[in-house]
Symmetry: C2
Subunit: 419 residues, 2 copies
């Protein structure tokens, strides 16, 4: 590991000096929310650091961006501010720098055990868009519902397909998810009504928008990375029975809008940069507005575990990787704005379910159980879809040379429908 | 007319004492936004009235809800606050009440000529949902794209179909709309890219959400009216070529997200109450969670005019009515929350295009020109879809006995794509 902190950081930690992901937290129930950075087993309170005058670079010295209840103001400032903050925080936490290391009261106030703080949503999300950018997921869904002849619609290879999701029901990891009620697909003539019988997770990641753009002014695909602050893990919970019945012709609605969970820590593109890898070859070639000079994915290992109610053990049900995405996050962002649509700081762009090519890398139970035709094993028991009490835990991690750049976990437990 | 103001109000005005719609305005460019009510040719500045201590009822006397840059705080307070405000404003403006009538400086500060103020969006819109609740519109679209066998999908008669729209690009009446660029449906093998060739309006109205509900706690359909503050006119601009190519399988996205225009004045359900009428008989009977004790529409005459670039004259292209909706706004709201989805104050619920049964009452050019197969006449010229420079003007009005309760206009002009 190249960077050494004065804090002891386990080589297994997701949050070494190379990462420094951003979140928002409360030190205790009665405190106001404020921005923080994860470092080893600690959270660095950026409000404390800012108040101590330690953000002394030209952009941040006179900014109140860390005296806010969310990251939106910092997101809006763009990459120059993000780079300055990263350099300052990396220096402050390094073993060679005394200003925090040797100041006991500042360490006491500014470095809080992560286990003791309450994590919140890191940003106010104006709009949330969900893409459909994994070819394996698109193909599997197509095979199940349309058959092999038309598994993937012709438009899919020409543009990153997406829909607008519900921003109000996005929650932070750890929030219980109430099983939704709704109408299900009729087997006879009349639709079923009640608690969803086909509750699923969707293994996704999402980009957090930085400065955004003005209405009518598209973002060039080769500048799109400047508009992405970082990535989070995302579980786009889905009620497959509700979705199947409602989605023609206007797309997903109540089958998704009961809840979406994101991880509390946003890993920046700067921290992910060493894990960049080539994006898949696209055939046909994308139209010029989607053609990137340098088309990049990231090598992020993803894993989903389920812990049944009352059990200590959780069971891995799938392993996938962010690099399976056909459309890159920068293509997604450029496409989103090509019609002039404005993105705002804090907007969330989901990737869609990230399924790999092998059956054990599929990103949701719909695919893993082939719409309930097979079982997924959880030790002594099994699942077709989620049961009440199931906790679903996502992890994501990039493996460096002797260190990780990880996302921590994104988890949620299913609780029964309200009668 | 039962209610008499000390202001002279034309019998043709949309804004008599019986209406009192709410909006947000700036008295001049340099002023801060504040809430107002339209009365005749004037806007009543509610901040001035509140500062003068004239909101002296038990709920509003100690509230700062009219010292806000939008109506969200007032919306959140619910019907008791709305009723108190309406009673206070109606009294203040009445010919019999001296407190405003006889106070020259208060009249000078608090009653501004409507022509001189700048109208803004009345609320901060967290989420925007668009329904598809007109049977005639659903049938026409189905006939065009699927043929008579399956004109309306079976789910349509069981639930109010909807999709999530883009909140960031909602603009107030009078804002220019830039023609979107995007991919169009290929006639050969490859998609077309460029400025939309099939730009359309959609004649809609939208409900503005009041108090909203907590995540996981559905709103009962018989209490849903308590969660609706009022209605606005809405133009859900649509690029039909972009939409047709992108919308399978996840629904409308860039074909709609470049802009949505709403009227500046929210007409309250209290003002619309005299114009309530029976909603259509629903067959099959809706599931219990959608079954209303008292299923109500409103008799609101709607009209769309187009004014071509450089012309003084505008031409009526359609006349419709809000009472053509199959699913009521209260059913829409209850359905939206049945899965536990939370609505927030200021959220917008669009009705979908409101088409009537006759060809001259269809609510968009797609239907009026049958996807470009016919022309709509504009005096000496005609249209299949909108051209640059066209201004589209919606009006909506309820006819009382000697008075109107109207929505004013909702307009927007098409300007060329940015090269």
């Amino acid at each position: 590991m190249a960077l050494k902190s004065f804090l002891e950081i386990s080589p297994d930690s997701h949050f070494p000096m190379e990462n420094l992901p951003y979140g928002v937290f409360k030190p205790d129930e009665s405190s106001a929310p404020r921005p923080g950075v994860a470092i080893g087993d600690y959270v660095l309170d950026l409000q404390v650091i800012a108040s101590a005058g330690l953000f002394n670079g030209p952009i941040l010295a006179n900014s109140d961006c860390f005296h806010q209840p969310n990251l939106n103001k910092f997101l809006e400032m763009g990459r120059p501010a993000w780079k300055e903050a990263r350099a300052t925080i990396q220096k402050l936490l390094s073993s060679a720098e005394p200003s925090l290391r040797d100041n006991a009261s500042l360490r006491q106030n500014g470095l809080l055990p992560a286990a003791q703080v309450q994590m919140l949503l890191p940003m106010a999300i104006g709009d949330y868009t969900d893409f459909f950018s994994s070819m394996h997921h698109a193909r599997n869904c197509g095979l199940m519902f349309r058959g092999p002849e038309n598994a993937i619609n012709p438009n899919w290879f020409h543009l990153p397909i997406a829909y607008h999701g519900r921003a109000s029901s996005i929650v932070v990891s750890g929030t219980d998810i109430i099983r939704p009620r709704g109408q299900g697909h009729p087997s006879g003539n009349s639709p079923y009504f009640g608690p969803s019988r086909k509750l699923d997770f969707e293994l996704e990641m999402a980009a957090v928008v930085g400065p955004g753009n003005r209405l009518g002014e598209p973002v060039d695909v080769n500048e799109a990375a400047e508009h992405i602050f970082g990535l989070v893990l995302m579980n786009d919970w889905s009620a497959r029975d509700i979705q199947a019945w409602e989605y023609v012709p206007l797309g997903p609605f109540l089958g998704k809008s009961f809840g979406t969970t994101i991880s509390p820590w946003i890993v920046t593109l700067d921290a992910l940069q060493p894990f960049g890898c080539d994006a898949p070859q696209q055939n046909p070639s994308p139209l010029p507005y989607l053609a990137e000079k340098n088309s990049k994915n990231y090598d992020i290992s993803l894993e989903v575990q389920i812990r049944p109610a009352g059990e200590e053990t959780s069971y891995v049900v799938t392993r996938s990787n962010f690099n399976h995405l056909y459309w890159t996050v920068t293509q997604q962002l450029a496409h989103h704005t090509i019609n002039g649509c404005n993105l705002r700081p804090g907007d969330l762009l989901g990737t869609g379910t990230i399924s790999g090519p092998e059956p054990e890398s599929y990103g949701c139970l719909l695919e893993l159980t082939w719409n309930g035709q097979k079982n997924v094993s959880l030790g002594g028991t099994s699942r077709k879809f989620l049961e009440d009490g199931d906790e679903v835990i996502f992890t994501g991690c990039c493996k460096g040379n002797g260190y990780n750049v990880g996302f921590g976990t994104c988890s949620g437990k299913i609780v029964p429908s309200i009668p």
